[in-house]
Symmetry: C2
C-alpha cells in the first residue's frame, strides 16, 4: 500500500496496491499524464505510433499507457528534435502515460556491428549505418528528452542460452549500469543541464533485474537493483526463447524478492496465457508486440484460442472473429471479409485485426483486474487457460521474441 | 426536377434536382441503401475497402457513397462468393450506397494480354494469369451479384491520344455494348435467372458517354446512349492524360446533351479544381483515387494548396496540415508528427493522411452544395480556385490517371 517518493526531489510516483488475491495484485499508479490501473498491458508504439492504429482507437479500447522505443526514436526523428517539440507526448499527440525502454534491447538485436564495453555500447544504425554510442548516462539523457512517464535503465541483454558465467558477468555489468543510470537521473533532477532538455520533470525510472534463467543470479540482481532504489522494477531478459515453464519460474522467484509496494513490469511478454500466468506470479505491467505484429500477419487472439484469418475455411464464414468480443471489428465485420482484406493485402486488414487483438489483450487485463477485485482470480485463471487453449490454429511452446511492434 | 422510373419494373431511382446556380446543380438521389446529396464525391474502395480507412471513419467525415471496382472484386474474392454472402454491402459491412464500375477500365489498364472483339474482352488476371472473359452481359451479371446501388455499363476505354477514326469506332462499339448491357439488365429484372443471384433488385444502371476529345463523337455518343435509356449518365474516357482545358470542354459540351432530370457522373476525376470546374459545367458525381493514393504517398490537399509532408521543412512544423480543416488528423496532429510517421514508414501515416485528404474532398463537395443552395457558387468557385493554387508544393497541368485506389 506504499506511496513511495523519490528521495532526491520528493517527486511522487504514486503506486497504490489496492487488493491482492493470492500473489496477484490489483493496483494503480499515478504519472504526470494520468492514472494507470494494474495489472496493465502496454501496446507497443515503437516509432511513436502503435502500428496500424490511430490514438483515438487506443483510447476507445481502453489503453491507459503505451510504450515507445528509445532506439528507434533516438535514430528517427531524434530525441533532441522531440525535446524541442515539447517531448514525446506533445510530439505524437498522445496525452496519456507512456513508458520508454532504454534502447538497449534494440541495440543488441537490431543494430549492426555493436561492441559492448564497460562504458556502454557502440553500434551502427540499422537505418543508415551511422555510428552511435549508447552509455547508461546517454540512455537516461535521451529518455529525459523524450519525457516519457517511466524511463528504463540501460541493461545488457543476454542471448539465450547463456552459461552461468556469462550470465553472471552480464548481470553484474547491468547492475553497475543501473547505478550509473540512477546517478545520472538524480543529477538531472537536481541540476538542470544545458545539454539535456528535460521534457517531463516527473519522469519515474525503473530498474531491471537480469540473470538469465539462473535463480541465484536473479536473486543477486534483484537485491542489488533494489538496493540502488527505483520507482519500480522490471524483469528483463525473458521471453527470448527459453522454455515457458522456466520463464514462469524466474518470474515467480524474482517477484518474491521485489518490494511489495512498488510496481513490477515483465518486459516483452507475452501471450494471453503469459499475462494471466505472470499476474498469478505477482506481475503488474506487461508489453509485447504479439497482439499488434500477429494482427498484421493475420493471427487473431480470441476467447477460444488463436485463429489464422488467412485460413481458407474462413472464406465464407459470416461470424465475427470472436463472438464474445465487443470491438469495432467483431461488431461490424465477418471473418469472411477480414480474410478477403488480408488476402487482398489491404492496409485496412492490419487496422481491423490490430483493433481486435489489442481489444482482446486489454479486455483480458480488465477481466484480470475484476477477478482480483472479486477475489476470484484463481477461478478466472483456470477458466481462461482452458478456454484460450481450446482450438489453437497455431501455437508453439516457446515464448515470444520481441524486437519492435 | 424529374423523378424517373425504370420503365420495365417501375423501380424508382429517385433523382431530384433541388436547385441550380448557373450550370451547377444541387440534387439528391435515393437508392436502396439511402440518400446521396449531389454534387457528390465517391471515395474509391477498390477491393471492398477504401484503402487505409475504417468504414466508420468514412461515415464520420461524411462519405455518403463509395465506389467498388468490379474487376478486382470479380477476381478476388469473386462475385459469386459475394452474392452467396448477401451482396457487397453485407459482405463488407457498408450500409450506405455503393456504385460499381463495369470492370472495363481495369481490364484495359491492368489485365495482361487482353484482346477485344465485338463480343467483349478476353484477358488474363494480373493476379495469377488466369484467363477470363468480360462481355457486356457478364459485366451486368457480375454487378447484379455484387448488388451495388448503381451499376455501370461496359464500355471500351480508349487510350489517349487516339485518332478520330479510332475514337469513332470505339465509341460506336461502346454504344452497342451499352444497348446489350441494358437489355441484359432488363432481362434480369423481368426474369429471375438461375445463374445470376441478384443481390440488390433496386440496382440502377448508368450509361457512359465516350468519344475521346472529339465534340462530334461525344455528341453522337451522348445522343445514342440517352436513346437507350438509363437511370443516369456518366462521362468516361477523360482524365487519362488529355490537357485539362480539353477535359473541361468535353464535359461542358457533353452535359449539355444529357437529360437535365438525371444525374451525371464524371468518371475518374479529379483534382479539387476539377471538382469545382466540372460542377460548374453540370456534373453531379465524381470518383477519383487522388485523395487516397496521394495521401499514402504523402501528398496532402489543403485549402491553400498541396503539401508534400515528406518535405524537410515540415520536420519541426507544429501546425496542422490545414488550419481550416476540422478532421481528426488536423485537430490532433502536427505536420512534424505526420512527416515523422511518413519517413518512418508507419501505416498510421497512410491512415491519418487519407482521413485528411478525404475530409478535404468531402468538405469541398459540401461547400459546393451550400454555395449552389445560396446562389453563390460562382463566387465560391473563384475564391476556391485562387486559394488552392496559392502555394502548390507540386502540381502539373495534366489531369490524373486512375487505376485503383
Amino acid at each position: 500500500m506504499g506511496r513511495p517518493f523519490d528521495k532526491t526531489q520528493g517527486r511522487p510516483f504514486g503506486f497504490t496496491l489496492c487488493a491482492t488475491d493470492g500473489r496477484a495484485r490489483l493496483g494503480e499508479f499515478e504519472t504526470p499524464h494520468g492514472l494507470v490501473h494494474t495489472p496493465a498491458f502496454m501496446p507497443v508504439g515503437t516509432q511513436g505510433a502503435v502500428k496500424a492504429t490511430l490514438h483515438r482507437d487506443l483510447v476507445e479500447i481502453g489503453a491507459e499507457i503505451i510504450l515507445g522505443n528509445t532506439y528507434h526514436l533516438f535514430l528517427r526523428p531524434g530525441d533532441e528534435l522531440i525535446a524541442r517539440r515539447g517531448g514525446l507526448h506533445r510530439f505524437i499527440g498522445w496525452e496519456r502515460p507512456m513508458l520508454t525502454d532504454s534502447g538497449g534491447f534494440q541495440v543488441f538485436s537490431l543494430a549492426q556491428r555493436r561492441t559492448i564495453t564497460e562504458e556502454g555500447a557502440e553500434f551502427q544504425s540499422h537505418l543508415d549505418g551511422s555510428r552511435h554510442q549508447l552509455t547508461p548516462e546517454r540512455a537516461v539523457d535521451i529518455q529525459a528528452r523524450l519525457g516519457s512517464d517511466i524511463a528504463m535503465v540501460l541493461d545488457e541483454c543476454l542471448a539465450f542460452p547463456a552459461t552461468h558465467e556469462d550470465a553472471a558477468e552480464s548481470m553484474q555489468r547491468s547492475v553497475r549500469w543501473a547505478a550509473r543510470c540512477r546517478a545520472r537521473l538524480e543529477l538531472l533532477r537536481g541540476t538542470p543541464s544545458p545539454d539535456v532538455m528535460v521534457s517531463n520533470p516527473g519522469q519515474a525510472q525503473f530498474g531491471i533485474v537480469q540473470g538469465g534463467v539462473f535463480s541465484d543470479l536473479r536473486q543477486e540482481s534483484a537485491d542489488a537493483t533494489v538496493a540502488i532504489g527505483f520507482e519500480g522494477y522490471a524483469i528483463g531478459g525473458l521471453s527470448v526463447g527459453e522454455p515457458i515453464d522456466q520463464m514462469y519460474q524466474v518470474v515467480e522467484e524474482t517477484t518474491a524478492r521485489l518490494p511489495g509496494a512498488l510496481p513490477r513490469y515483465l518486459m516483452g511478454a507475452g501471450t494471453p496465457e503469459d499475462l494471466v500466468e505472470c499476474v498469478a506470479r505477482g506481475i503488474d505491467m506487461f508489453d509485447c508486440v504479439l497482439p499488434t505484429r500477429n494482427a498484421r500477419n493475420g493471427q487473431l487472439f480470441t476467447s477460444v484460442g488463436r485463429l489464422n484469418i488467412k485460413n481458407a475455411k474462413y472464406a465464407e464464414d459470416e461470424g465475427p472473429v470472436d463472438p464474445a468480443c465487443r470491438c469495432y471489428t467483431c461488431t461490424h465485420h465477418s471473418r469472411a471479409y477480414l480474410r478477403h482484406l488480408y488476402q487482398a493485402g489491404e492496409m485496412t486488414a492490419g487496422a481491423l485485426n490490430t483493433l481486435h487483438n489489442l481489444t482482446f489483450y486489454l479486455d483480458t487485463m480488465k477481466r484480470i483486474r475484476e477477478a482480483i477485485q472479486l477475489g476470484t482470480f484463481e477461478r478466472f485463471r483456470q477458466e481462461f487457460l482452458r478456454s484460450v487453449r481450446l482450438k489453437p490454429d497455431t501455437t508453439n511452446g516457446v515464448s515470444s521474441l520481441s524486437l519492435d511492434s
